[in-house]
Each structure stands twice: as structure tokens, then as C-alpha cells.
Chain length 423, copies 2
């Protein structure tokens, strides 16, 4: 298992901090422990992220009607309304191995009990503790492992605990996902970092992603929420069809302000806020691309770029339809430059265009021009398919809008992983 | 390769005619030949279905923006407007191996040239010949094989040629798909039959289905079109997410009236018309279920029944989302009664319901009640998974609307088939 570092997108201009993660920003500590949710005693299965002080916090939660107990509990703490989740928090506790979803009133009791256990250990209010769970759906979650694990995690909390925390939230992930960037504004250096889990995100209903993000910039909760929504739209929402709709999807961002305790909070639309938004977006993109790259059974990260769309919605629909096409994804697994499948996906996406105006490139090779096959060197295409990242470009010739989506190829291993996930 | 016969749905009440197909109705002949679209000389690759006389004909075509040349050519012959395709036709010619899609003006010339070749052989007008193609996208289709194949097929035309025709339109299908039923009304016995191809229909963009249907009932073209739309909505549209949106999807229905030449055409809303609609729907369902059962790499037919939905749209959305869930489909491949994946799919479908009101059964075993796990016998579940058809029932507890969708499981073979389709 290695930590994923990503250089994309260079255009945002922030170098990733080597080894950066959820504890890179000042004012945060974290730990990952084996609490007992999983049988293997060597596998970390509970993460705790703690702010020195209660701090402004924003979150984006799933809209799934079957949403999990921890989502309901955390959403209530941050205002209760779907789409308007922000307030104050001190800690985030995450367990893996059990999603505490479809568990009814008993599940809510466990989610609330978990917050109480953490509040006891940290000597804070239970309302200041956010909870998240990931794993199998429909199985009762026990409170006992928290009773053992939380004191152990509290004792281990440190500025170096981010990587353990990132490992503790993994399910079918094959690598831990964490990154961080720094940016300078208002005469100070600020940091944004985070960790995420989610490797089953390639397909719509596999999106059980959890991300915990931290920053030491001074930002009020409502402003923080605006920044988070923008960043999530440009990153996690570009990987999954419905990152906002699995039972447990949760993305939490806490702002300690610890890098400049005396500075006034960044105002909306200020230069400082825009710099923060760019840095946050880069962190989210890094984590989102790491998820796509680590897609269940994936051998390739796939980037789908749509240009020339008549509207932003058309660009989005076209990119999403291509990125979700099992035929396109299996063709890439088979190193097959079968652009006809891309054309068919574009055609059924609902985007408006004339097929005679469409151009398609695979890894920079023109394979379709004016809606027609363009002769290309199959051997050269095979060579380019050896790259880790496969880039598909389609221009619809209908306007000036563009969109990008990330996905991965669809391989035998995807079936193997999912045919017997419970066993 | 065997012909699929299906007993579902018994409630429609028409027994399938043994060995029935596209030539079961009076007034039609058919043939299947090897014309040379495929390299293997033993593989039939061109089908011709001919009516004794020009007869009322209705069709449903793809709405894909990248629609193929034969779709454009056939749609023009039947009125030109999307969604309003009916008129008069004498013959349908179908080739497999090449979709003649994304082939530009040259592709249109070949489609028109094909109609002219058939018109020559049958001594009819080229406008009376409908064309359909299925196979790989973006490769020029040659006219020469038609010049060889059409005279050969014309010479072989017979009332017994339906099965050869059904074989000739197969691509990745593993079985030919044909069926027919008879019904009595107005003192006469009438027959509806047809053939279809399409095994890659499980996933949204794999819907390259072609169906040719015939009847000897007397029905005018506009009425025929209404019946066809109803039947397609209840059958082919319940198998694929977008059966109307691949590049080549085509469903053609011809009515010879030959079973009762002196009878007036069935009027809309007459008892005779309703009987015809039921019979047609049963034929389409038989073919649609055969497609799902023959899904690429499939080992099981999967039926998803939704009840208790608040609206018809909710029922449809819930059924479709479950049927298209790769997680549900891989779980079935793994004989895993993982109902949490069904719950998650229901939750993100957009259907309105309270999770506390949801019941889920897998093969008749209650696995979820009131949104909570229901203990069940895993060994018994495994036994029931041995059946060829897996039935999933979900009641949303929110109303009285229901919907059914058909799909198949998602296996390793799906990947193997699609990773190197072109090679």
C-alpha cells in the first residue's frame, strides 16, 4: 500500500506536499487504530480526526433515500437540512467494515452512542462529534469496538497520525488516499489537506466515499460550505455518477484558522477565499483522481474530456455517459481503440450535436473526424494504451462548453471483487 | 444454438407456437444466407423477410444522435419523423457483422444501394424495402455482399425460412431468438411472430437490438404503430435502459392481413385490436426476455419487480436502477443475497419512499422488512440461486404503482466478450 500523490491538474498551480494529508494543516491531530470492526487484528478499522478547538465545519452528504444512520446523525449536528450542512465541530470518527446503513433505530442509537464515547474521551459535547461509517449495508453495528478503540485512538492522536487514519478508513481500496497543498495569501502560508476512501466509485451505485478535509485558514462555516460545494462539484462529482447518492457518502471539511489566529475570516469573493478555493479544489481533485485510479479491479485511470458542447449541461451529460459506458471501459481494459463505442455513448447522452461535426481522439490519436473513421496506426495506439492514464477527447463541434470526468477501465477483477464482497 | 421459447407471462394467456417465428404469420417468407459480411463461410450473415404484397408497416427506431445510415434510410421510407414511423413496405433486409454506423454519405449510399438490390430481386420499388444493419460501428459497409447474397436469399425464400433468418441477424447472441403466438377474434385465427437479435443489451449502451415482427391480422399502418409502441414499451424498453438509443436499434412490424383478406382493418380500441395488442406484447416480451437471458456473459435471467411505488415514474425508476446496478448484478453472479445493494440502488433511484417502509425479497425469501435486515437461511438462498431465473421483489410501501424490468447477471464473461470485440 502506498500513498497516492498526483500532479494533476498542474494548471491549479499548487505542488502537493510530500506525505501530506489530513493532519498537514495546523490545529489537527489524527489516529488510526484496530478497534475490532474487522476480524484481522492487523487491519486498522477506526480513524479519529480531532481539532484543537471546536472549529467551523462544512459537509456534503449523500441524498440517498436509504441514507445511513451516521449520515443522519452528522447532518443533524450541522443544521439538519439537505444541501445546507455547516456549523461547528471538534472531531470526526470514522469506522470501516460496517456502514451502519439500513439499521433502523438501533443504528441511530449506535451512531449517537459513538459520538458520546468520543465526547467522553475528548471532554467535549457529543454534538461536536461527527460520525461516518463505511462497509457492508444492513448489518447491525456494535458500539463495543468504539468503547475499546476510541480511548486507544485518543492516546495515539498526533500530527503524524494522518496516514494511519487514511489507512483505517479503507474498504476495498488498494491504496490509502491522502494529499495536501499549501498556498500563500494575506502574508501567511495556509494548508489544505485531506484523506478519502472509495475505490468502488466507478459505477453509479458503488459510491461509498468518505473524505475528511482540514485547513488552517480562517473561514466561517457558511463560507466554508460554499467552498466545499464548489470543490466537490469539480472533483468527487466528476468521478462518480452519484457521489451524492450512496447510502454513506460523506465529505467533511474543518477549518481551524490556526495558521493565522489573529486574521479575520476570509470574506466570500475575496482574493484569499479564491486562493483557498483553488487549493481545496486541487486537494479534492487529487483525492478524486486517486479514487478513480483505484477503481475496483481497475488497471487504468481514464480521463474523458468533452469540448465543443452547445451547453454546459450537454458537456456534462456527454462526459458522464462516455465515462460510465461499460463498453468503453471494457474496450480500454482490452487496449482496444474502439471509438465507435465512444460515438454511440455520445449519441445516446442527450447532448445535441451533428454527428458530421464530431471529432474523437484516443490518447492523442485522431480516430474519428467529421463523424467518420480516421485511419490510425493500431500498433501506435497499442503502445499508447500502455500508459497508466488513458485520455479520451471528444469535440462535439456544437459550441464552446467543456467538461471532464474521471473513471477507470472495467476488468475481470471488478467482477471478482464484487461477486463475493460479503464472503 | 437453440431457439428460445419462453412461458412468460402466463397471464397474457397465449401459448407460444412451437418453432414459431417471423414466418409463422400468413403472407410472409424469409431466408438467411451467408453473403460474405463475415469471414466464416458457415455463418449466416444476411436475412431477408418478404411480404407477398406491400403491406402496412410500423417501426420504432433509435433516437441516438449517432444513428446509423440504415436507420436514416428506413425512417425516411416510413415518414421521416422520429416517433412517427409507419407506412407501407414489402421487405426487410438485415445484415450482421457491420452496423453501417458513423459511415457518412458513403454509408447512406450503401443503405440505398441495398434497398435497390432487393427491389431488383423482388421486382418492387426501392422505397418498399426497409434496411437494418448490426455489428461494428465506424467501418465502411460494402455493397458487394448484398449483390451476391440477395439473389441467393430470394431463391431460398420460404415459410420455413424464419429460423435461418433469426440466425443470420445474430452478433454476440449465443441463441437465435424467435417466437410466435396465435389469437382468435372476429371469427378468425390470427398469428403474430417475430425474430430479434441483441445480447449486449444489459448495459445502457449495448442496445444494438433489431427485431422484425409480422402478423396476418388486418391493421392499418397508423393503428399498427400505436400497437407497436405499446408493445415495445412493455417489453424491449423494459430490458435496456436505452433500447431506443443505440446507433442501430430497429423494430419493424408488418401486417399482411392474409389470415382474413376480406375483413375490415381492426379499429383502434376495438376488442380485436386489444387482442392483437396482447398477442403482440407477448411476442415482444418473449423476445425481450430472451435477450436479457442471453445477455453478454450472462448465466441468469434477472427479473426485478417493484411494487408499492408512489407513482408510475417512481416504479419505473426504481426497477431500472436496480436492474442496471452492476453491484446487484455481480452479487447475483456470485450467488450472494446481498440485499443492501438493492436497498442502495432503490435509495439513489430518485423514487420517493421512507426506508422504514421498504420490503425486499430475493427469490421469494424475505431478506428485508421495514428497511431492516430480516434473518434468512443462507443455505436456502444459495439453493434458490441455482434457478435459471432470479426474481427480485421490492415493495416501497409508498403507493400502488408497479413496474418490472429484465436484466441478467454480470460475469467475467461479459468482460471477456467486450474487452476484445473487434479482435
Amino acid at each position: 500500500m502506498t500513498i497516492v500523490q498526483d500532479t494533476y491538474p498542474a494548471s491549479l498551480g499548487f505542488p502537493f506536499i510530500e506525505g501530506g494529508g489530513v493532519t498537514s494543516a495546523q490545529g489537527f491531530t489524527a489516529a488510526g487504530v484496530h478497534a475490532g470492526f474487522r476480524a484481522n487484528p492487523h487491519r486498522l478499522d477506526m480513524a479519529l480526526v480531532v481539532a484543537q478547538e471546536p472549529c467551523p465545519t462544512a459537509a456534503v452528504f449523500t441524498r440517498n433515500a436509504f441514507c445511513a444512520a451516521p449520515v443522519r446523525a452528522s447532518r443533524m449536528r450541522l443544521g439538519g437540512a439537505i444541501g445546507k450542512s455547516y456549523g461547528t465541530a471538534r472531531a470526526v470518527i470514522v469506522n470501516s467494515g460496517n456502514a451502519n446503513a439500513a439499521t433502523g433505530d438501533a443504528g441511530m442509537e449506535v451512531a449517537e452512542g459513538t459520538a458520546a464515547v468520543v465526547a467522553d474521551a475528548l471532554d467535549c459535547a457529543p454534538d461536536e462529534v461527527l460520525v461516518a461509517s463505511t462497509g457492508v449495508i444492513g448489518v447491525p453495528l456494535a458500539l463495543d469496538p468504539f468503547r475499546q478503540g476510541v480511548p486507544a485512538a485518543t492516546a495515539k492522536l498526533s500530527r503524524h497520525g494522518g496516514t494511519d487514519a487514511a489507512h483505517a478508513i479503507m474498504t476495498t481500496d488498494t491504496v490509502a488516499k491522502e494529499c495536501a497543498v499549501s498556498f500563500c495569501t494575506e502574508g501567511h502560508t495556509f494548508t489544505v489537506g485531506g484523506m478519502a476512501k472509495g475505490s468502488g466509485m466507478i459505477m453509479p451505485d458503488m459510491a461509498t466515499m468518505i473524505a475528511v478535509l482540514t485547513t488552517d485558514a480562517p473561514i466561517q462555516a457558511a463560507t466554508l460550505h460554499e467552498a466545499l460545494r464548489r470543490a466537490v462539484d469539480a472533483s468527487f462529482h466528476k468521478v462518480t455518477v452519484d457521489s451524492d447518492s450512496s447510502t454513506n457518502d460523506t465529505c467533511i471539511l474543518m477549518a481551524s484558522g490556526a495558521a493565522a489566529p489573529d486574521l479575520a475570516p476570509f470574506a466570500r469573493e475575496s482574493e484569499a477565499f479564491e486562493a483557498f478555493c483553488r487549493a481545496l479544489t486541487q486537494v479534492c481533485m487529487g483525492l478524486a483522481r486517486a479514487m478513480a485510479r483505484d477503481g475496483e479491479g481497475a488497471s487504468k485511470l481514464v480521463t474523458v474530456n468533452i469540448t465543443g458542447a452547445a451547453t454546459a449541461a450537454d458537456a456534462e451529460a456527454a462526459a458522464r455517459t462516455v465515462a460510465n459506458s461499460p463498453l468503453v471501459k471494457t474496450a480500454i481494459a482490452g487496449r482496444d481503440a474502439n471509438w465507435g463505442r465512444i460515438a454511440a455513448a455520445l449519441g445516446r447522452s442527450g447532448a445535441h450535436f451533428d454527428q458530421e461535426a464530431v471529432s474523437i481522439d484516443i490518447m492523442g490519436l485522431p480516430v474519428c473526424r467529421g463523424g467518420l473513421a480516421q485511419p490510425f496506426d493500431e500498433a501506435e495506439a497499442l503502445r499508447r494504451f500502455e500508459q497508466d492514464e488513458i485520455v479520451l477527447d471528444a469535440d462535439l463541434g456544437a459550441g464552446a462548453h467543456r467538461a471532464t470526468m474521471w473513471t477507470c477501465d472495467l476488468t475481470h477483477d471488478y467482477i471478482a471483487i464484487n461477486a463475493d464482497y460479503r464472503s
